[in-house]
Amino acid sequence: MMLGLNRKDASLLLIVAILVALAPIFLNPFPEQSGLAQFNAGYPDLMQRFVIFGIFAIGFNILFGLTGYLSFGHAAFLGAGSYAGVWMLKLLTINVIPAIIISTAVAGIFALIIGFISLRRSGIYFSILTLAFAQMSFALAASVLTPITGGETGLQTALDDPRILDSTNTTGNIPAPSIFGLQMGDSFQISLGGWLWTFNVGYYLSAIVMLSAFYLAIRIFRSPFGIMLRAIKSNQQRLNYTGLNTKPYMLACFVISGMYAGLAGGLMVSMDPLAGAERMQWTASGEVVLMTILGGVGTLIGPVLGAGLIKYFENIFSKINDNLLHKWFAFMPDGAEDFIVSIIYPFVGKGWHLTLGLIFMAVIIFLPGGLVELGQKVASIFKKKGSTPSNTPNTEPAE
């Protein structure tokens, strides 16, 4: 009923909004001085990444989750958006709003061109075509397009940029990206007991953008357009037989998805005005696939969870080293301690990719619905125990 959402979706949006707003607090569950403080994820840089990659994954999920078209080249749009964003910061103004808008638009145009060609095929051919385009963009950005992209060193802002809308200022430091005077890096810190909470401008800007993107995604999922996309996933041939041309729907979906990626790219450079070609490489496209699948493909909240999980792994889990492991298992007898540490060590710290790969495989094999399905299964176990099993009618739309 609220904002054109039904009760279930509205409460989901509300929960996500509350969680995102309070993230600086509950992502720092351990006091600053405690040994577990390194598992605190509530610092601005990482929180920004959580929400920005959340946007990227939401966008990818609109394409893959709704239509089943697996794009292996989505990072190209993220990269295109990043470059466009940095150029806006260089040429126009250090205010991030034009940068974010233009990067979304540029990624949209880029997606329109690539989508127009790639969508002529489906299935694995579509995956290969998107992969080929992304690799081409990456190779060109790293070599020939160096004047536009900064080549392998990347594109960044400089002191003598024109910035035609800003008052000229060629002394002092390179201006940091800001929004109406508030710099992205500005933070407001509260220290309470042993805890330290950081409320960061850049994070809250990204969070607001992410929530609007999430809201839009819910609306797309529930719209007739979204239902059409699901129909394409379940049986495109039959749709064609009914005389319906699916191509415009697919193209629109692809462009929307690309614009989400561009939006994420624009936010990324707003937080840190540096765009490199490796952002377009196919491993980056693979990462967003991992995020979406891990979280739960085709679900609303799944991609955000997946993005958070992977970024947490990458930044926190990867810092566990063997000294720390020895400290944790110090209560054991010496032999047992070394044995346990030597077993666990390959999976943590630098080996976090191994754990990620194993979890990913386990999810694909046993839980095609990702973390969301896991949550539903666990919830249903508790429900059965708690109350008498009732035959609740299945409210999911038939697919």
């Binding site: 697996l70 290969i128 992969l131 790969g357």
Partner: protein
């Protein structure tokens, strides 16, 4: 003229690596209908079979050598590979020197076992699932395999030299009557190309001239009928998966002297191999081989100085460009069969 020949030769060795990997991919796809994103990892595992084998050969014990003295006059401690004890010193040195070609013998059983385990343990459960799931699970497997190798061998490239007999270059220009010194080509690349052709030839011969191969081809054409005739086609397809893994592995073994392997070499090759398979036509073995060689040659032509000057950056993108053009104009690829993965 000599430039053109040189570029063709340059393209052939990279092209033959593409062709070998693409051949394995196509074998798996044609028999089991599985899109195997872990195939690059199999290539990488093969390369590390060669590394492991040369390390096994040079496993050493420390011996105090009374004949050699260090500067203080104490006897020197020398590493003596165990293999010297077994085969004598001169034969041992020859064995270590020839570790790369010998690693083939080691890699074949290892790779077949890995392939069969992979098929029985994981891929088997994915026949009925959509292609996207197959891509994703093998992609995950590739990450896991890479990380295991990275854990044991580190992240750096590990050099693994070719036998001394093949170090150096061959003056190809002089041999075909052109001016000496114009076309110089390393021996090992010639070996690699010949080896690849031999391997491709034997895979084709195996499929064409043995009863086993005949059954496999029949199974590729019409699986159900073969099963109705009472033949256990699953077992044969599993073995073919092992063969495909071995082909990728051998391509990796022989590639180690050209490019020292590291844990993500497989991913670098995988993307291009997929492009090769698609260009050649899904499910067509000759198509995969032809497309591999063609794209290899195309790539080396595009990296000629004159071409780069005319079209900057073309060397980086020519393979992908070719793939896009072919996919859009000839949807089945160069030699694709009708009805195989049309959508």
């Amino acid at each position: 003229m000599d430039q053109i020949i040189l570029q063709i030769l340059n393209g052939l060795d990279k092209g033959s690596a593409y062709a070998l990997i693409a051949l394995g991919l196509t074998l798996i796809f044609g028999t089991l209908g599985v899109v195997n994103f872990a195939h690059g990892a199999l290539f990488m595992l093969g390369a590390f079979c060669a590394i492991t084998f040369s390390r096994i050969l040079s496993l050493s014990k420390v011996v105090v050598d009374e004949t050699q003295k260090d500067f203080l006059g104490n006897p020197l401690k020398v590493d003596v590979p165990y293999i010297y004890d077994w085969f004598g010193e001169s034969a041992g040195q020859v064995l270590i020197n020839w570790s790369v070609p010998l690693a083939i013998l080691f890699a074949i059983p290892v790779m077949i076992i890995i392939g069969v385990l992979m098929e029985r343990g994981l891929i088997k459960h994915f026949y009925k699932r959509p292609h996207a799931d197959q891509i994703l699970v093998t992609f995950g497997l590739a990450i896991v395999l890479q990380e295991i190798i990275k854990y044991y061998f580190g992240a750096n490239q590990i050099p693994n030299p070719a036998p001394e007999a093949f170090i150096g270059s061959f003056d190809f220009g002089a041999a075909i009557g052109l001016k000496a010194g114009t076309i110089i080509y390393p021996y090992w690349r010639i070996v690699y190309f010949c080896f690849a052709m031999l391997l491709i030839g034997s895979v084709f011969a195996f499929l064409q001239f043995t009863t086993f191969g005949m059954v496999v081809r029949a199974g590729m054409a019409d699986r159900e009928t073969v099963e109705l005739l009472g033949i256990n086609i699953d077992k044969r397809f599993t073995i073919m998966f092992g063969v495909a893994a071995a082909v990728a592995g051998l391509a990796g073994v022989m590639y180690t002297p050209i490019n020292p392997p590291n844990y993500h070499m497989g991913m670098d090759f995988l993307v291009i191999s997929f492009v090769v398979v698609v260009v050649g036509g899904m499910g067509s073995l000759p198509g995969a081989v032809a497309a591999g060689l063609l794209l290899g040659i195309l790539e080396s032509f595009a990296s000629m100085r004159q071409v780069i000057e005319a079209l900057p950056g073309i060397n980086q993108v020519v393979i992908y460009l070719a793939a896009i053009v072919i996919l859009l104009t000839r949807p089945r690829g160069l030699m694709g069969r009708k009805g195989v993965m049309e959508e």
